[in-house]
């Protein structure tokens, strides 16, 4: 139990190997899910396997856990070659495995405590040790007040933490977690990574964890990037960033819509990886360093002032796409449609006006005086955790739900009186993509065309348009079920657009789609908003989607608590809470303790790096290396990092939760 607080991380010394894969391959009915994979996981390491759905993460993870047979190559876990079922049994006493699916491996009818007890008895945890372990784990995960609650009544984040407790109750040497954070809101996700990191550190447990969220890479010591059944790269998050040659450049082409579109077309003519991100354009330049790359972009856009172009730090997703492209594994978005000659005249007219929208369900207020405006041609994001009221607002705006108070106009129609008229002017795409999977691409489009009362000629021309814009050419007679997720998503979007709506509602539209597909999807949305003047309202708790929006409204407990552009929200965060500093120390845990002892109580460890928020960033950046050297931790570097949308979300929601808790305490 009492593992030493300071454990040699993977950076120190010569670590033992816990998992070794050589030429690993897994086939399902003749189709390769994973092939030719080499991988090593070291003792004490938190290894993250990152990749989109269908990359082969689960197959690898299950095979390592000894619950899946495989065909090619070899796997060794704790030095035991996994050659047979019997061999696999020999490693299972030292392994804890949590399968995919939020809380799916737990027993809904059993209470929190009964779930834990079941796992403990199954693993023959002695009675004496159980009580103490249970108390510790429940305290760290803050589940102690809920031991008597049936698992089915827990929130997503709590289920996930209970799953972790059950996986750790027999003190395994290696925990294997298959997408533990999928479907959980950002606050709970960050909480989960901090708890996991702490538990693994304190108990010197190695971990193999998979995730589909690229932005979680910084939570790991080392990561492996997977795509299409292959391991693209493995290493520390920083090393991976260095793998793709080149640099990322951000361009502010101007406030006018035409300017951005023109710049986009010019850049796409010269560079392979160009994406619109809100009002900015991101260009990945394959040669040169930051300065050279920025210069090359400036040369391509001579009309722009030089300060509109600047090199920025690439996200892992940018690197991922660049790696795929540079290795010829995927083709990024092309400039597929030429802009129409003239923009629609009503493009800038207000398309969605929510005014003090309120909805009560009994005593519960699901939406509380929600107000915002979306212009034609604007992409507006509604952010919030599950239950924040996003769906209620969408339902009121689409005419499905009557508001208790307040009003709203969509595409010029008052939604209280014009429920049906609204439906003709809006398109709606849900998380589940609402396609008929047994119908072909063409049949799906025809069906939606028929539902909206289009005639044959109109349907034919829309079909043409959809297969062009959604890049579905050649797939027309393919059944929707057989399409890759990215294509399926674009088909669903096409179906939602079949009647040429003026307003488009997207409800968490990109779950399960790989980065390449996601970029193609957002490219399509960009064209819709900029050239066709469609107003787009997106609800999401995927922060990578939020970055694409022109404006964002953050919802909490039914209220809009902040409304701004993405960069405005980030600036506000830095203004209110200070700059984000990332500290790279040779011995991160010792440095963390030293920092916490020296007045940085909120310092936290993400993978190998320590993060703090500082109101005097300049001064702190200068004095921290010296402070840590005096504390016996030399060789420390400090860099300023721009906050991500996820940082904004987590910070804001956590602050609101704390305020609510305080208010409740004082009321008592």
């Amino acid at each position: 139990m009492a593992a030493p607080a300071l454990v040699s991380g993977p950076a120190a010394g010569n670590p033992a190997t816990v998992v070794r894969a050589r030429g690993f391959g897994k086939r399902y009915r003749g189709r390769n899910a994973v092939e030719g994979l080499d991988l090593e996981i070291h003792a004490g390491e938190l290894f993250g396997l990152i990749g989109p759905d269908g990359a082969g993460k689960s197959s690898l993870i299950k095979s390592i856990a000894g619950v899946l047979r495989f065909e090619a190559g070899s796997l060794e876990v704790f030095g035991v070659p996994l050659l047979s079922d019997d061999a696999c049994e020999r490693i299972k006493d030292r392994i804890g495995f949590m399968p995919q699916g939020l809380g799916q491996n737990l027993y809904p009818e059993l209470t929190v405590e009964e779930n834990i007890d079941f796992f403990a008895r199954l693993r023959l945890v002695p009675h004496s040790a159980l009580a103490q372990r249970k108390a510790e784990l429940l305290a760290i995960t803050r589940l102690a007040p809920f031991t008597g609650r049936a698992m089915k009544h827990l929130s997503g984040g709590m289920k996930q933490k209970l799953g972790l407790v059950c996986t750790l109750i027999h003190e395994p040497r290696l925990v294997i977690l298959d997408e533990p954070t999928t479907g959980v809101d950002p606050v709970s996700r960050r909480d989960f990574w901090l708890i996991l990191g702490r538990l693994l550190r304190e108990r010197n447990i190695s971990a193999l964890v998979s995730t589909a969220y690229m932005d979680e890479a910084s939570s790991f010591h080392r990561v492996g990037l997977m795509f299409g059944g292959r391991l693209l790269a493995a290493g520390q998050p920083g090393e991976i960033r260095a793998l793709a040659q080149g640099a990322l450049v951000s361009v502010e082409a101007g406030a006018e819509v035409g300017q951005q579109a023109a710049a986009l077309a010019q850049l796409r003519a010269r560079f392979a990886q160009v994406d619109a991100l809100g009002s900015a354009i991101r260009v990945f330049v394959d040669q040169g360093d930051d300065i050279q790359a920025a210069d090359m972009v400036r040369q391509a856009l001579p009309a722009l002032p030089p300060q509109a172009v600047a090199a920025v730090e690439p996200e892992l997703e940018d690197i991922f796409v660049a790696l795929l492209r540079q290795r010829g594994l995927a083709r990024p978005a092309q400039d597929r449609t030429s802009p129409p000659p003239a923009r629609r005249q009503d493009a800038d007219a207000p398309a969605i006006e929510a005014h003090e929208l309120t909805r009560d369900f009994g005593a519960f207020r699901a939406a509380d005086r929600v107000s915002f405006n979306v212009r034609g041609g604007q992409v507006f994001g509604l952010l919030g955790a599950n239950g924040a009221g996003k769906s209620t607002v969408i339902k009121m705006l689409t005419g499905i739900l009557q508001p208790s108070a307040g009003s709203g106009r969509v595409a010029g129609a008052d939604m209280r009186s014009a429920g049906f008229a609204i439906k003709e002017r809006i398109g709606y795409m849900s998380q589940a993509f609402s396609l008929y999977l047994d119908l072909t691409v063409e049949e799906n489009v025809r069906l939606y065309g028929g539902i909206y009362g289009l005639d044959r000629a109109a349907i034919r021309s829309r079909l043409q348009w959809i297969s062009e814009v959604a890049e579905l050419k050649g797939y027309e007679r393919e059944r929707a079920a057989r399409l890759p997720m990215g294509l399926r998503q674009r088909l669903a979007l096409g179906c939602a657009l079949v009647h040429q709506p003026r307003v488009l509602f997207l409800d968490e539209p990109t779950s399960g789609v790989d980065p390449i597909g996601r970029r193609a999807f957002w490219d399509m949305l960009f064209h819709l908003s900029r050239f066709d003047g469609v107003a787009i309202l997106v609800t999401t708790h995927y922060m990578s989607e939020a970055e694409h929006c022109d404006r964002l409204a953050l919802m909490y407990a039914g209220r809009v608590v902040a409304e701004d552009s993405p960069s405005g929200m980030k600036n506000a965060l830095e203004r209110d809470c200070g700059m984000l500093l990332e500290i790279n120390a040779p011995e991160p845990q010792a440095a963390l303790l030293a920092l916490q002892r020296n007045g940085f109580a909120a310092a936290a460890l993400f993978g190998n790096r320590i993060r703090i928020q500082s109101r005097q960033a300049e001064a702190d950046s200068a004095r921290l290396p010296e402070l840590l050297r005096q504390a016996g931790q030399p060789g420390v570097t400090v860099v300023r990092r721009a906050p991500s949308m996820e940082d904004v979300f987590v910070q804001r929601v956590t602050a609101l939760e704390a305020a609510e808790l305080n208010a409740r305490k004082t009321a008592r």
């Binding site: 619950v67 491996n105 059993l110 796992f119 199954l122």
Partner: protein, 384 residues
């Protein structure tokens, strides 16, 4: 084998069954409810056949003839019809299932010693019922003509009516029904229902219980842990075996006390054999669960494997010797038939192990084969 692990699995399973409303109903309510529904609904006795009579004769004798039918418990006289057309309408509407047509001069002809003809129209849509109805008509008719003949003989020869009867009936059949003296079909059906329902309920529960874990992913807790295949299967199946054994008691009580079936055999032998039988059918559920991945597929598979055989191939409706050669082979491959013999033997005949050991041996072999197959098919590492 580790008792703690078996216990852990069994205890968890038990609590899930008791707390999950669907499983609780499936385990404790459905078997008894099925017994009640089938017990009251599935009577093979054909009685109270609705009958209409067309009497063109209107004589004392024709009325007496009609009385023979309306007085019997086999027919329910719904009334007299004026014409064949009217009677035809009643048959078409389903108000009556049989029509008796008594022609003109019926009484006159009989009294003068000549033969008379009576026409009977029987609804043939349900052959079994039609055949039985025809049998009743024939029997009542034979008894009536015997009486008429005896009267005629007595008058002509000056004999007493009883002597005349004896003289006419030189060969009489004396039937004594063994085991089920009043030939009540419920006596035979209620015990066999126990067999049929215990053929269906345990595999449903077991297959759903295991496949539910596959579907949700909680089966990975088992795959990834140190619990052995045997420990898991024992722990998993024990609660279902216990519940099914309890249900045997409930269904036995219903058969005896609600439906009044006699139980003449040795209770200890019967319950031991019943536990062996539910062991067999639980094993069927185990096999189904090895073959499928979703609860819907488990339901379908179990239904095909158990419901049809329980009803058709177990002797509950059709006696096994009356089945076609192919059907008889199928019947011999399923456990229901063997247990049906044990049920009938224990309830109605009062026989025990001495007579029924071949059936017990068949069930034991069956159970052993199912569990060995189930054990071998359950792997802690899956192929996909």
């Amino acid at each position: 084998m580790n008792i703690t692990r078996i216990n852990a699995v069994a205890y968890k399973e038990w609590r899930e069954i008791v707390r999950d409303r669907l499983f609780f109903t499936l385990a404790f309510v459905v078997p008894a409810a099925l017994t009640l529904l089938f017990g009251y609904g599935l009577s093979l006795d054909v009685e109270h056949i609705p009958l209409a009579i067309i009497d063109y004769d209107h004589s004392a004798l024709s009325r007496e003839y009609a009385h023979r039918f309306s007085d019997s418990r086999y027919f329910d006289l719904k009334g007299y019809a004026a014409s064949e057309r009217e009677a035809g309408a009643l048959l078409t509407a389903g108000t009556v299932r049989a029509v008796l047509l008594i022609p003109e001069h019926f009484g006159q002809r009989l009294q003068s010693g000549r033969a008379a003809e009576v026409q009977t129209l029987i609804d043939g849509t349900f052959p079994f019922r039609a055949q039985t109805a025809k049998g009743y008509v024939t029997a009542i008719n034979a008894a009536f003509s015997l009486g008429v003949l005896a009267d005629y003989l007595a008058q002509a020869r000056g004999l007493s009516p009883a002597d005349a009867q004896r003289a006419l009936q030189t060969l009489r059949v004396e039937v004594r029904y063994l085991y089920n003296q009043s030939v009540k079909s419920v006596w035979s059906i209620a015990p066999k229902l126990l067999m049929a329902i215990m053929m269906m309920s345990p595999p449903f529960l077991t297959a759903l219980g295991i496949v539910r874990e596959k579907e949700s992913g909680s089966i990975f807790n088992i795959y990834a842990s140190t619990v052995s295949r045997g420990e898991f299967l024992i722990g998993k199946l024990l609660p279902y075996l216990a519940i099914s054994s309890l249900n045997v008691l409930v269904l036995w009580a219903l058969a005896c006390f609600l439906f009044g079936a006699p139980f003449k055999g040795d209770p200890l032998f019967f319950f031991a054999a019943a536990v062996l039988y539910v062991g067999c059918t639980t094993g069927i559920g185990l096999l189904v669960s090895a073959a499928v991945r979703t609860q819907v597929a488990a339901m379908m598979g179990t239904m095909i494997l158990t419901v049809v055989p329980a009803v058709l191939y177990s002797g509950i409706l059709i006696p096994i010797p009356s089945l076609s050669a192919a059907a008889s082979v199928i019947a011999h491959l399923l456990p229901g038939m063997y247990f049906a013999d044990i049920v009938t033997g224990s309830f109605l005949k009062g026989v025990g192990l001495a007579e029924l050991w071949p059936q017990v041996l068949a069930l034991a072999t069956y159970a052993a084969a199912l569990y060995v197959a189930g054990y071998l098919l359950f792997r802690k590492r899956t192929a996909s």
